[in-house]
Protein backbone atom coordinates (compact mmCIF):
# COMPACT_ATOMS: atom_id res chain seq x y z
CA UNK A 1 0.00 0.00 0.00
CA UNK A 2 2.92 2.29 0.73
CA UNK A 3 4.15 1.88 -2.86
CA UNK A 4 0.71 2.68 -4.18
CA UNK A 5 0.61 5.90 -2.24
CA UNK A 6 4.12 6.81 -3.43
CA UNK A 7 3.13 6.18 -7.03
CA UNK A 8 -0.05 8.16 -6.60
CA UNK A 9 2.00 11.01 -5.20
CA UNK A 10 4.36 10.80 -8.16
CA UNK A 11 1.43 10.91 -10.53
CA UNK A 12 -0.08 13.86 -8.71
CA UNK A 13 3.25 15.66 -8.91
CA UNK A 14 3.60 15.05 -12.66
CA UNK A 15 0.03 16.21 -13.10
CA UNK A 16 0.52 19.38 -11.15
CA UNK A 17 3.80 20.27 -12.83
CA UNK A 18 2.44 19.78 -16.31
CA UNK A 19 -0.90 21.39 -15.63
CA UNK A 20 0.68 24.42 -14.02
CA UNK A 21 2.59 25.15 -17.19
CA UNK A 22 0.27 23.92 -19.88
CA UNK A 23 -3.31 23.48 -18.78
CA UNK A 24 -4.71 26.96 -19.33
CA UNK A 25 -7.88 26.84 -21.36
CA UNK A 26 -7.58 27.39 -25.11
CA UNK A 27 -11.31 28.02 -25.44
CA UNK A 28 -10.70 31.75 -26.01
CA UNK A 29 -8.78 30.89 -29.18
CA UNK A 30 -11.45 28.41 -30.20
CA UNK A 31 -14.20 31.00 -29.68
CA UNK A 32 -12.26 33.64 -31.59
CA UNK A 33 -11.68 31.23 -34.49
CA UNK A 34 -15.30 30.03 -34.48
CA UNK A 35 -16.92 33.44 -34.56
CA UNK A 36 -14.48 34.68 -37.21
CA UNK A 37 -15.25 31.61 -39.32
CA UNK A 38 -19.02 32.12 -39.03
CA UNK A 39 -18.68 35.75 -40.12
CA UNK A 40 -16.53 34.86 -43.12
CA UNK A 41 -18.78 32.10 -44.37
CA UNK A 42 -21.27 34.69 -45.62
CA UNK A 43 -18.65 36.29 -47.83
CA UNK A 44 -19.54 34.52 -51.14
CA UNK A 45 -22.86 36.39 -51.30
CA UNK A 46 -20.97 39.68 -51.13
CA UNK A 47 -18.36 38.56 -53.69
CA UNK A 48 -21.12 37.59 -56.11
CA UNK A 49 -22.76 40.98 -55.69
CA UNK A 50 -19.84 42.71 -57.43
CA UNK A 51 -21.06 41.21 -60.69
CA UNK A 52 -24.66 41.63 -59.49
CA UNK A 53 -24.18 45.35 -58.97
CA UNK A 54 -22.59 45.74 -62.40
CA UNK A 55 -25.50 43.90 -64.02
CA UNK A 56 -28.06 46.03 -62.20
CA UNK A 57 -26.18 49.13 -63.36
CA UNK A 58 -26.38 47.79 -66.91
CA UNK A 59 -30.08 46.93 -66.54
CA UNK A 60 -30.83 50.55 -65.62
CA UNK A 61 -28.95 51.70 -68.71
CA UNK A 62 -30.89 49.27 -70.87
CA UNK A 63 -34.15 50.60 -69.44
CA UNK A 64 -33.07 54.14 -70.30
CA UNK A 65 -31.99 53.18 -73.83
CA UNK A 66 -35.17 51.27 -74.32
CA UNK A 67 -37.13 54.48 -73.99
CA UNK A 68 -35.10 55.99 -76.81
CA UNK A 69 -34.68 53.04 -79.19
CA UNK A 70 -36.78 50.07 -78.10
CA UNK A 71 -35.98 48.16 -81.28
CA UNK A 72 -32.43 47.40 -80.03
CA UNK A 73 -33.41 45.70 -76.78
CA UNK A 74 -32.32 42.16 -77.76
CA UNK A 75 -28.90 43.39 -78.84
CA UNK A 76 -28.41 45.25 -75.55
CA UNK A 77 -29.37 42.25 -73.46
CA UNK A 78 -26.94 40.05 -75.42
CA UNK A 79 -24.11 42.44 -74.56
CA UNK A 80 -24.61 42.13 -70.79
CA UNK A 81 -21.43 40.10 -70.23
CA UNK A 82 -19.57 41.51 -73.20
CA UNK A 83 -15.85 41.86 -72.51
CA UNK A 84 -14.98 44.06 -75.48
CA UNK A 85 -16.85 47.13 -74.45
CA UNK A 86 -16.10 50.69 -75.58
CA UNK A 87 -17.58 52.24 -72.48
CA UNK A 88 -21.18 52.11 -73.63
CA UNK A 89 -21.66 48.94 -71.54
CA UNK A 90 -19.88 48.12 -68.28
CA UNK A 91 -17.72 45.02 -68.62
CA UNK A 92 -19.52 42.89 -66.04
CA UNK A 93 -17.66 39.85 -67.38
CA UNK A 94 -14.52 41.17 -65.65
CA UNK A 95 -16.30 41.01 -62.30
CA UNK A 96 -17.63 37.55 -63.15
CA UNK A 97 -14.06 36.33 -63.77
CA UNK A 98 -12.92 37.55 -60.33
CA UNK A 99 -15.86 36.09 -58.42
CA UNK A 100 -14.40 32.63 -57.84
CA UNK A 101 -10.79 33.71 -57.11
CA UNK A 102 -12.14 36.22 -54.58
CA UNK A 103 -14.31 33.59 -52.88
CA UNK A 104 -11.31 31.23 -52.84
CA UNK A 105 -9.05 33.88 -51.27
CA UNK A 106 -11.56 34.36 -48.46
CA UNK A 107 -11.92 30.59 -48.14
CA UNK A 108 -8.19 30.28 -47.45
CA UNK A 109 -8.73 32.57 -44.45
CA UNK A 110 -11.85 30.62 -43.39
CA UNK A 111 -10.00 27.28 -43.60
CA UNK A 112 -7.09 28.67 -41.61
CA UNK A 113 -9.34 30.03 -38.85
CA UNK A 114 -11.47 26.91 -38.81
CA UNK A 115 -8.40 24.66 -38.45
CA UNK A 116 -7.03 26.97 -35.77
CA UNK A 117 -10.31 26.52 -33.86
CA UNK A 118 -10.23 22.75 -34.32
CA UNK A 119 -6.69 22.53 -33.02
CA UNK A 120 -7.67 24.60 -29.99
CA UNK A 121 -10.85 22.57 -29.38
CA UNK A 122 -11.25 20.73 -26.12
CA UNK A 123 -12.76 17.59 -27.62
CA UNK A 124 -9.61 16.86 -29.58
CA UNK A 125 -7.82 15.51 -26.53
CA UNK A 126 -10.71 13.82 -24.82
CA UNK A 127 -9.71 10.32 -23.86
CA UNK A 128 -12.63 9.67 -21.55
CA UNK A 129 -13.53 6.30 -23.11
CA UNK A 130 -10.03 4.96 -22.78
CA UNK A 131 -9.67 6.31 -19.26
CA UNK A 132 -12.98 4.80 -18.20
CA UNK A 133 -11.48 1.42 -19.10
CA UNK A 134 -8.83 2.01 -16.49
CA UNK A 135 -11.34 1.23 -13.78
CA UNK A 136 -11.30 -2.42 -14.83
CA UNK A 137 -7.55 -2.57 -14.25
CA UNK A 138 -8.16 -2.35 -10.56
CA UNK A 139 -10.58 -5.23 -10.26
CA UNK A 140 -9.35 -7.49 -7.51
CA UNK A 141 -6.73 -4.93 -6.55
CA UNK A 142 -6.67 -3.34 -3.16
CA UNK A 143 -8.09 0.00 -4.38
CA UNK A 144 -11.32 1.45 -3.20
CA UNK A 145 -13.73 3.32 -5.47
CA UNK A 146 -12.45 6.74 -4.43
CA UNK A 147 -8.85 5.79 -5.18
CA UNK A 148 -9.76 4.39 -8.60
CA UNK A 149 -11.62 7.62 -9.43
CA UNK A 150 -8.64 9.67 -8.26
CA UNK A 151 -6.19 7.73 -10.43
CA UNK A 152 -8.50 7.93 -13.43
CA UNK A 153 -8.94 11.66 -12.95
CA UNK A 154 -5.24 12.30 -12.57
CA UNK A 155 -4.38 10.19 -15.58
CA UNK A 156 -6.87 12.21 -17.60
CA UNK A 157 -5.38 15.45 -16.38
CA UNK A 158 -1.85 14.38 -17.21
CA UNK A 159 -2.74 13.14 -20.70
CA UNK A 160 -4.70 16.30 -21.42
CA UNK A 161 -1.87 18.49 -20.21
CA UNK A 162 0.68 16.61 -22.29
CA UNK A 163 -1.37 16.85 -25.49
CA UNK A 164 -2.33 20.46 -24.79
CA UNK A 165 1.33 21.25 -24.59
CA UNK A 166 1.66 19.97 -28.13
CA UNK A 167 -1.44 21.84 -29.31
CA UNK A 168 -0.25 25.05 -27.72
CA UNK A 169 3.22 24.73 -29.17
CA UNK A 170 1.94 24.03 -32.70
CA UNK A 171 -0.70 26.78 -32.53
CA UNK A 172 1.74 29.23 -31.03
CA UNK A 173 4.37 28.72 -33.69
CA UNK A 174 1.85 28.76 -36.60
CA UNK A 175 0.17 31.92 -35.33
CA UNK A 176 3.46 33.74 -34.76
CA UNK A 177 4.98 32.67 -38.06
CA UNK A 178 1.93 33.53 -40.18
CA UNK A 179 0.69 36.68 -38.53
CA UNK A 180 2.10 38.89 -41.30
CA UNK A 181 0.35 36.81 -43.97
CA UNK A 182 -2.97 36.93 -42.11
CA UNK A 183 -2.55 40.71 -41.79
CA UNK A 184 -1.85 41.03 -45.54
CA UNK A 185 -4.80 38.86 -46.54
CA UNK A 186 -7.32 40.52 -44.22
CA UNK A 187 -6.12 44.01 -45.22
CA UNK A 188 -6.43 43.22 -48.92
CA UNK A 189 -9.88 41.65 -48.53
CA UNK A 190 -10.96 44.61 -46.44
CA UNK A 191 -9.72 46.99 -49.12
CA UNK A 192 -11.61 45.12 -51.85
CA UNK A 193 -14.81 45.07 -49.82
CA UNK A 194 -14.82 48.51 -48.21
CA UNK A 195 -13.36 50.59 -51.04
CA UNK A 196 -13.75 48.73 -54.32
CA UNK A 197 -17.08 47.01 -53.79
CA UNK A 198 -18.43 50.18 -52.17
CA UNK A 199 -17.28 52.27 -55.16
CA UNK A 200 -19.05 49.85 -57.51
CA UNK A 201 -22.20 50.26 -55.38
CA UNK A 202 -21.74 54.04 -55.67
CA UNK A 203 -21.62 53.72 -59.45
CA UNK A 204 -24.79 51.66 -59.35
CA UNK A 205 -26.38 54.20 -57.02
CA UNK A 206 -25.48 57.07 -59.40
CA UNK A 207 -26.96 55.13 -62.30
CA UNK A 208 -30.10 54.61 -60.24
CA UNK A 209 -30.29 58.34 -59.46
CA UNK A 210 -29.74 59.17 -63.11
CA UNK A 211 -32.50 56.78 -64.14
CA UNK A 212 -35.11 58.14 -61.76
CA UNK A 213 -34.21 61.83 -61.84
CA UNK A 214 -34.08 61.88 -65.65
CA UNK A 215 -37.36 59.95 -65.82
CA UNK A 216 -39.09 62.39 -63.45
CA UNK A 217 -37.72 65.42 -65.31
CA UNK A 218 -38.70 63.92 -68.67
CA UNK A 219 -42.17 63.25 -67.26
CA UNK A 220 -42.50 66.91 -66.31
CA UNK A 221 -41.73 67.87 -69.91
CA UNK A 222 -43.95 65.14 -71.30
CA UNK A 223 -46.90 65.97 -69.07
CA UNK A 224 -46.77 69.76 -69.25
CA UNK A 225 -48.56 70.42 -72.53
CA UNK A 226 -51.34 67.92 -71.84
CA UNK A 227 -52.13 69.39 -68.44
CA UNK A 228 -51.75 73.03 -69.37
CA UNK A 229 -55.41 73.64 -68.64
CA UNK A 230 -54.71 73.00 -64.96
CA UNK A 231 -52.59 75.77 -63.53
CA UNK A 232 -51.45 76.83 -60.11
CA UNK A 233 -53.17 79.88 -58.74
CA UNK A 234 -50.04 81.68 -57.61
CA UNK A 235 -47.68 81.26 -60.55
CA UNK A 236 -50.03 80.32 -63.38
CA UNK A 237 -47.65 77.43 -64.17
CA UNK A 238 -48.94 74.09 -65.51
CA UNK A 239 -49.99 71.68 -62.75
CA UNK A 240 -48.81 68.05 -63.10
CA UNK A 241 -50.57 64.92 -61.98
CA UNK A 242 -48.38 64.07 -58.94
CA UNK A 243 -49.36 60.41 -58.57
CA UNK A 244 -46.90 58.80 -61.04
CA UNK A 245 -44.08 60.87 -59.54
CA UNK A 246 -45.01 59.94 -55.98
CA UNK A 247 -45.00 56.23 -56.84
CA UNK A 248 -41.72 56.55 -58.74
CA UNK A 249 -40.05 58.34 -55.86
CA UNK A 250 -41.14 55.59 -53.44
CA UNK A 251 -39.58 52.92 -55.66
CA UNK A 252 -36.44 54.98 -56.04
CA UNK A 253 -36.10 55.48 -52.28
CA UNK A 254 -36.59 51.73 -51.65
CA UNK A 255 -33.89 50.79 -54.14
CA UNK A 256 -31.52 53.36 -52.70
CA UNK A 257 -32.12 51.99 -49.20
CA UNK A 258 -31.19 48.49 -50.38
CA UNK A 259 -27.91 49.78 -51.78
CA UNK A 260 -27.22 51.72 -48.59
CA UNK A 261 -27.77 48.55 -46.56
CA UNK A 262 -25.22 46.74 -48.74
CA UNK A 263 -22.71 49.53 -48.24
CA UNK A 264 -23.16 49.34 -44.47
CA UNK A 265 -22.83 45.56 -44.57
CA UNK A 266 -19.60 45.90 -46.55
CA UNK A 267 -18.21 48.32 -43.96
CA UNK A 268 -19.24 45.92 -41.17
CA UNK A 269 -17.41 43.13 -42.96
CA UNK A 270 -14.35 45.35 -43.20
CA UNK A 271 -14.49 45.82 -39.43
CA UNK A 272 -14.84 42.06 -38.97
CA UNK A 273 -11.69 41.52 -41.03
CA UNK A 274 -9.94 44.21 -39.02
CA UNK A 275 -10.84 42.48 -35.79
CA UNK A 276 -9.67 39.12 -37.12
CA UNK A 277 -6.28 40.67 -37.89
CA UNK A 278 -6.12 42.40 -34.48
CA UNK A 279 -7.13 39.24 -32.61
CA UNK A 280 -4.58 37.18 -34.51
CA UNK A 281 -1.91 39.79 -33.84
CA UNK A 282 -2.72 39.79 -30.11
CA UNK A 283 -2.13 36.04 -30.08
CA UNK A 284 1.05 36.38 -32.12
CA UNK A 285 2.38 39.22 -29.95
CA UNK A 286 2.38 36.83 -27.02
CA UNK A 287 5.37 35.25 -28.74
CA UNK A 288 3.46 32.03 -29.26
CA UNK A 289 2.80 31.69 -25.53
CA UNK A 290 -0.91 31.10 -25.64
CA UNK A 291 -1.30 30.65 -21.90
CA UNK A 292 -1.07 34.34 -21.16
CA UNK A 293 -4.34 35.50 -19.62
CA UNK A 294 -4.09 38.99 -21.08
CA UNK A 295 -3.54 37.60 -24.60
CA UNK A 296 -6.48 35.22 -24.33
CA UNK A 297 -8.75 37.95 -22.99
CA UNK A 298 -7.74 40.18 -25.90
CA UNK A 299 -8.61 37.41 -28.39
CA UNK A 300 -11.94 36.92 -26.64
CA UNK A 301 -12.60 40.66 -26.79
CA UNK A 302 -12.06 40.70 -30.56
CA UNK A 303 -14.32 37.64 -30.87
CA UNK A 304 -17.09 39.54 -29.09
CA UNK A 305 -16.67 42.55 -31.38
CA UNK A 306 -16.82 40.30 -34.44
CA UNK A 307 -19.96 38.65 -33.05
CA UNK A 308 -21.62 42.04 -32.59
CA UNK A 309 -20.88 42.98 -36.23
CA UNK A 310 -22.23 39.77 -37.76
CA UNK A 311 -25.86 40.95 -37.67
CA UNK A 312 -25.01 44.16 -39.55
CA UNK A 313 -23.35 42.11 -42.22
CA UNK A 314 -26.12 39.50 -42.41
CA UNK A 315 -28.79 42.19 -42.76
CA UNK A 316 -27.87 42.61 -46.43
CA UNK A 317 -26.42 39.19 -47.32
Amino acid sequence: MKHIIENLRALILIGLVISATACRDLSAIRKFAEVATVANQKFPALAKDLKGSCLRQRALQINRDNLRTPENLAERLAALLNENSNGQEPRCGLFAQQEEPLIQANKVLVNYLQTMGELAADDLTSYSNALNGLGDAFIGVDFNEAEVTAVRGLAGLVLKAATEGYRRKTLGSVITKHDAQVATLTAKLKDIVTRKYVLQLTNENDELDNYYITAIKDYEKFASPSTARLTTVSTNQPLLNPLPVVHTINTWVDERAKLQMKKEAALAYGEILDNIAKGHKALADGGGKLDDRKTLLAALGYAKTIFSLIDDFRAAF
Binding site: I4, N7, C54, L119, A155, V158, T170, Q200
Partner: protein
Protein backbone atom coordinates in the same frame (compact mmCIF):
# COMPACT_ATOMS: atom_id res chain seq x y z
CA UNK B 1 2.93 51.58 -71.67
CA UNK B 2 3.74 50.81 -68.02
CA UNK B 3 1.44 48.41 -66.25
CA UNK B 4 -1.07 49.86 -63.80
CA UNK B 5 -0.90 48.93 -60.15
CA UNK B 6 -4.05 47.94 -58.25
CA UNK B 7 -4.00 51.26 -56.40
CA UNK B 8 -3.53 53.34 -59.58
CA UNK B 9 -6.37 51.48 -61.21
CA UNK B 10 -8.58 52.18 -58.19
CA UNK B 11 -7.63 55.87 -58.25
CA UNK B 12 -8.73 56.03 -61.88
CA UNK B 13 -11.97 54.29 -60.93
CA UNK B 14 -12.62 56.90 -58.23
CA UNK B 15 -11.82 59.80 -60.58
CA UNK B 16 -14.01 58.51 -63.42
CA UNK B 17 -16.85 57.92 -60.98
CA UNK B 18 -16.53 61.45 -59.59
CA UNK B 19 -16.50 63.00 -63.08
CA UNK B 20 -19.59 61.00 -64.06
CA UNK B 21 -21.33 62.15 -60.90
CA UNK B 22 -20.48 65.81 -61.52
CA UNK B 23 -21.62 65.53 -65.14
CA UNK B 24 -24.99 64.19 -63.97
CA UNK B 25 -25.35 67.00 -61.44
CA UNK B 26 -24.58 69.59 -64.12
CA UNK B 27 -27.21 68.07 -66.43
CA UNK B 28 -29.84 68.00 -63.68
CA UNK B 29 -29.09 71.60 -62.64
CA UNK B 30 -29.37 72.83 -66.21
CA UNK B 31 -32.00 70.43 -67.43
CA UNK B 32 -34.43 73.01 -68.74
CA UNK B 33 -31.85 75.21 -70.45
CA UNK B 34 -30.14 72.32 -72.27
CA UNK B 35 -31.50 71.00 -75.52
CA UNK B 36 -32.67 67.39 -75.74
CA UNK B 37 -29.59 66.54 -77.83
CA UNK B 38 -27.25 68.16 -75.32
CA UNK B 39 -28.90 66.29 -72.46
CA UNK B 40 -28.57 63.00 -74.32
CA UNK B 41 -24.90 63.64 -75.08
CA UNK B 42 -24.12 64.51 -71.46
CA UNK B 43 -26.00 61.46 -70.23
CA UNK B 44 -24.06 59.20 -72.61
CA UNK B 45 -20.72 60.71 -71.57
CA UNK B 46 -21.50 60.29 -67.87
CA UNK B 47 -22.51 56.71 -68.51
CA UNK B 48 -19.27 55.97 -70.34
CA UNK B 49 -17.24 57.47 -67.49
CA UNK B 50 -19.17 55.41 -64.94
CA UNK B 51 -18.75 52.23 -66.99
CA UNK B 52 -15.02 52.85 -67.27
CA UNK B 53 -14.97 53.43 -63.51
CA UNK B 54 -16.60 50.02 -62.94
CA UNK B 55 -14.09 48.51 -65.34
CA UNK B 56 -11.16 49.99 -63.40
CA UNK B 57 -12.67 48.64 -60.15
CA UNK B 58 -12.72 45.15 -61.69
CA UNK B 59 -9.13 45.53 -62.97
CA UNK B 60 -7.99 46.73 -59.55
CA UNK B 61 -9.51 43.66 -57.87
CA UNK B 62 -7.85 41.40 -60.46
CA UNK B 63 -4.46 42.95 -59.67
CA UNK B 64 -5.11 42.66 -55.92
CA UNK B 65 -5.82 38.97 -56.24
CA UNK B 66 -2.68 38.45 -58.35
CA UNK B 67 -0.64 40.15 -55.60
CA UNK B 68 -2.12 37.84 -53.00
CA UNK B 69 -1.01 34.59 -54.60
CA UNK B 70 2.12 34.11 -52.43
CA UNK B 71 0.28 35.05 -49.23
CA UNK B 72 -2.53 32.60 -49.97
CA UNK B 73 -0.05 29.77 -50.54
CA UNK B 74 1.68 30.60 -47.27
CA UNK B 75 -1.56 30.54 -45.27
CA UNK B 76 -2.58 27.29 -46.95
CA UNK B 77 0.74 25.79 -45.79
CA UNK B 78 0.03 26.92 -42.23
CA UNK B 79 -3.43 25.33 -42.41
CA UNK B 80 -1.87 22.06 -43.63
CA UNK B 81 0.59 22.15 -40.72
CA UNK B 82 -2.22 22.55 -38.20
CA UNK B 83 -4.19 19.75 -39.89
CA UNK B 84 -1.15 17.47 -39.51
CA UNK B 85 -1.02 18.35 -35.81
CA UNK B 86 -4.71 17.50 -35.46
CA UNK B 87 -4.15 14.15 -37.19
CA UNK B 88 -1.21 13.48 -34.91
CA UNK B 89 -3.28 14.20 -31.79
CA UNK B 90 -5.97 11.87 -33.07
CA UNK B 91 -3.36 9.16 -33.58
CA UNK B 92 -2.04 9.77 -30.08
CA UNK B 93 -5.61 9.24 -28.88
CA UNK B 94 -5.59 5.83 -30.57
CA UNK B 95 -2.21 4.98 -29.04
CA UNK B 96 -3.55 5.87 -25.61
CA UNK B 97 -6.55 3.62 -26.21
CA UNK B 98 -4.27 0.68 -27.02
CA UNK B 99 -1.96 1.33 -24.07
CA UNK B 100 -4.87 1.70 -21.70
CA UNK B 101 -6.22 -1.63 -22.87
CA UNK B 102 -2.78 -3.08 -22.11
CA UNK B 103 -2.92 -1.70 -18.60
CA UNK B 104 -6.40 -3.10 -18.13
CA UNK B 105 -5.08 -6.48 -19.20
CA UNK B 106 -2.09 -6.22 -16.87
CA UNK B 107 -4.37 -5.34 -14.00
CA UNK B 108 -6.47 -8.38 -14.75
CA UNK B 109 -3.49 -10.72 -15.10
CA UNK B 110 -1.57 -9.54 -12.06
CA UNK B 111 -4.17 -9.04 -9.40
CA UNK B 112 -2.88 -7.58 -6.24
CA UNK B 113 -0.16 -5.59 -8.03
CA UNK B 114 -1.40 -2.03 -8.20
CA UNK B 115 2.20 -0.84 -8.29
CA UNK B 116 2.60 -2.47 -11.70
CA UNK B 117 -0.59 -0.80 -12.92
CA UNK B 118 0.58 2.62 -11.79
CA UNK B 119 4.01 2.10 -13.33
CA UNK B 120 2.36 1.18 -16.61
CA UNK B 121 0.24 4.31 -16.34
CA UNK B 122 3.36 6.40 -15.92
CA UNK B 123 4.71 4.78 -19.05
CA UNK B 124 1.64 5.96 -20.94
CA UNK B 125 2.26 9.51 -19.75
CA UNK B 126 5.91 9.36 -20.80
CA UNK B 127 4.99 7.91 -24.22
CA UNK B 128 2.43 10.65 -24.80
CA UNK B 129 4.88 13.33 -23.76
CA UNK B 130 7.54 12.01 -26.09
CA UNK B 131 5.10 11.67 -28.95
CA UNK B 132 3.63 15.13 -28.57
CA UNK B 133 6.91 16.95 -28.14
CA UNK B 134 8.56 15.05 -30.90
CA UNK B 135 7.19 17.23 -33.70
CA UNK B 136 6.33 20.46 -31.97
Amino acid sequence: MPTLTAEQSFQLAQNYSAIAHETDLYRFRNFDSLSAAERATLEDRARSMRNFSSEFVAISITLDLDDLEGTLNNIEDATTRMRRAIERLRKIGNVINVLTAGITLAGAIIPGSPVAVLSALEMVVISVNEATHDEA
